[in-house]
Subunit: 200 residues, 2 copies
DNA sequence: TCATGATTTTAACAGTGTAAAGATTGGATC
DNA sequence: GATCCAATCTTTACACTGTTAAAATCATGA
């Protein structure tokens, strides 16, 4: 069979396309369409115009492919946080806003990175566990500049919990429609610095 | 075939056991062993000593069975929070501690209740969406007694995010081993009332 | 006693991840 | 330029899954 294989760029290809990136990009689209549950090697192959076992030349399993996606996500998230922290606005708040904005822009990917499947595909993949810790470190380092040492651990867990929880609830549609999500997120995150408002 | 079917109680059974509760309890065990991903109708049937399609007389699908488990979970969680709020300790803090303790005691169930599969099995099941909201209401009602009306919405989202995030991070093993989880949770939740510690 | 209705089983279908084997091809070597 | 090689992809097959349709079984009311 000598059918033409046209890649996304429209050019007719030799053996077959540059598959690995194609697989990842197709998988990512699938991920955002239907969440981590929708990730399927056969569907990925189908959309890439390739037979399902073809993916096994680049990934040892579906979980391995998912892990690669997650690593991609951690790299991007880390970058966005760095950019926000380098920006003109208040450090921790800007970082938190960027964190939640990333989750909102990539809900499927965020669920993959922090979801239930995490233990499964991170088995034997130490890199991705480390990636996950890196974003935590970013928060923590900022806190270390501003707090007494014995208070850092609790404050870091506090901030990470708040941000992570807010990201997930946002993704799950718990922010009322009609309000600007960034503004709402900022308001909520500000409470972290101020504590609960005073009693009436 | 006239084989004896012995239930968990050890008694020999007529037609076959009281299946629905057995299915639920077996499924719940499976859930805590391997997380929501491990839920499998065939495995549930196997452990219940019954053929897989038997479950279809009580649940229209695997998702429906998962929804029933989730509802069970919401009822229990709600009860534990009520009990904590009625107790002698500080209201919101005690509620938060009970919330996280529930997640720690039932990690698989908690992931099912708030995890990625949620949208899937809550389709056409309005009851469980409502159940999910009920725990939010509990927090919110308590806040309404203590805050000016315009501050309630943000404060509620703030507290829910923090508690939900802390529960998930705890489940994911982000609390250092060796410390008492309840104590650690209490310390972190206290920061919600106090704000971040003052700069050094 | 016996028919009825509820319960469970067997058989089958379409879908999945994955392993093993064979086919195809692009590029290096003569 | 022809030829071999190693990388890449396909075909085939297996075990597993959720789910449906049909048949078998049993508990109980008439």
């Amino acid at each position: 069979m000598v059918t033409d294989k046209t890649t996304e760029k429209g050019s007719t290809r030799y053996h077959h396309g540059n598959l690995r990136p194609t697989l990842l990009s197709v998988a990512r689209a699938l991920l955002e369409e239907g969440g981590p549950q929708a990730l399927s090697l056969r569907e990925i192959g189908r959309r890439a115009g390739v037979s399902a076992p073809a993916a096994y030349h680049y990934f040892s399993s579906l979980d391995a492919l998912a892990a690669a996606l997650a690593e991609q996500g951690f790299a991007e998230l880390s970058e966005e946080i760095d950019a926000a922290l380098a920006g003109p606005r208040r450090h921790l708040l800007a970082g938190g806003i960027a964190y939640v904005a990333f989750a909102r822009a990539n809900p499927g990917l965020y669920r993959l990175m922090f979801g239930e499947g995490f233990q499964a595909y991170s088995k034997g993949n130490e890199a991705i566990g480390a990636s996950r810790m890196r974003v935590y470190r970013q928060m923590k380092e900022d806190l270390e500049k501003r707090l007494a040492p014995e208070k850092v651990a609790n404050a870091a867990l506090f901030l990470w919990s708040l941000t992570h929880g807010l990201a997930l609830l946002t993704i799950d549609g718990q922010i009322e429609p009609g309000v600007d999500p960034d503004a709402r997120v900022a308001e909520v995150l500000k409470l972290a610095g101020l504590g609960l408002p005073a009693a009436k």
